[in-house]
Symmetry: C2
Subunit: 188 residues, 2 copies
């Protein structure tokens, strides 16, 4: 599992062997069962994840109790409820395990210690933030400029795995459309 994370880290920044060994030591393996809540809304996010195999989602809950999926993480992805992980304030998002998942977790303490000590981790985190920011920007663009149909076709083209992995209810909440609208779009 750590080989696969090492591959991803080396793809993003030019880590030295000794740095990689220290960094990989900070990531602890976890097996989490489907339907586990890795983080509840209102709690502080204290871990950052590398998903080896499986599937997680982060989601907001509105005042009526409706869940709105923001991010889906599948095999070989990294992420967490990043806003709370950064601020160390209670999270407005929760993290739910959608399939039995094998992951590596690094604590907030270790993450920011690596950030202070290793220039390469600094670049890795910066690159990760740049990608996360750009992803959020596309999400906002799609939410405010595309129709339900266009959003569905965008996911169909760019993230076809989500169509396979997510139930209709969760996919609709990711697209910010009603389940009935999604069913209609799928049947066309």
């Amino acid at each position: 599992m750590k080989n696969s994370l090492e591959h991803l880290l080396k793809h993003i920044a030019a880590f030295e062997r000794s740095e990689l060994d220290t960094i990989l030591d900070c990531f602890k393996p976890k097996s989490v069962k489907k339907n586990t809540l890795l983080l509840s809304a209102g709690n502080i996010c204290r871990e950052f994840y590398y998903i080896h195999t499986g599937c997680l989602r982060t989601a907001f809950i509105d005042a009526k109790g409706n869940e709105m999926t923001r991010l889906v993480l599948t095999d070989c992805n990294i992420g967490t409820a990043l806003a709370s992980f950064i601020s160390q304030k209670p999270s407005v998002e929760f993290i739910e395990v959608l399939e039995d998942t094998e992951l590596l977790a690094v604590s907030h303490h270790s993450f920011y210690q690596l950030n202070r000590e290793y220039r390469c981790w600094n670049f890795f985190y910066q690159r990760m933030l740049e990608m996360a920011y750009s992803y959020q920007n596309r999400r906002i663009e799609q939410l405010v400029t595309l129709s339900a149909q266009q959003r569905y076709h965008q996911v169909l083209n760019d993230q076809p795995l989500l169509i396979q992995k997510l139930s209709n209810k969760l996919l609709a909440s990711y697209l910010d459309i009603r389940e009935e609208t999604l069913s209609r779009l799928k049947s066309v």
Copy 2:
């Protein structure tokens, strides 16, 4: 104008005097008139801004030609069309000057050179990305979980300057609601 940027930089990271002098030298003053387009959609964003006085906005355009304001930058703010600035690919957003504005601009080349050379700039940029990411996350949360009325009241409480600075048309496009809805909310 550079004193005010220096104050902001020192607030975010522990720069040394010699570093600050080099960094401030990379920022070039510009006076831009109201209604200027600093960046057109489809062009590559090659500058990052510190707004000394004035007001800019970044916005998307949908297929029907409707503009959706994403970000408004006022006095002493930093920012740009960051997704295109990061990727150096054509921007889906434009940047428009809403008031006569005095700003400092740093080129993409200088920005990333500072990032390679100065550890403190590295921390500054990382912190800026963390804040930009968290802002985007709140924007997504508000777009998908709040009603038009709740979004209006959120801006009224958290960013009252936007109510003063933006026309009804632009404020409605920031809130992703119709102008008529905004007029109704304002009159309550």
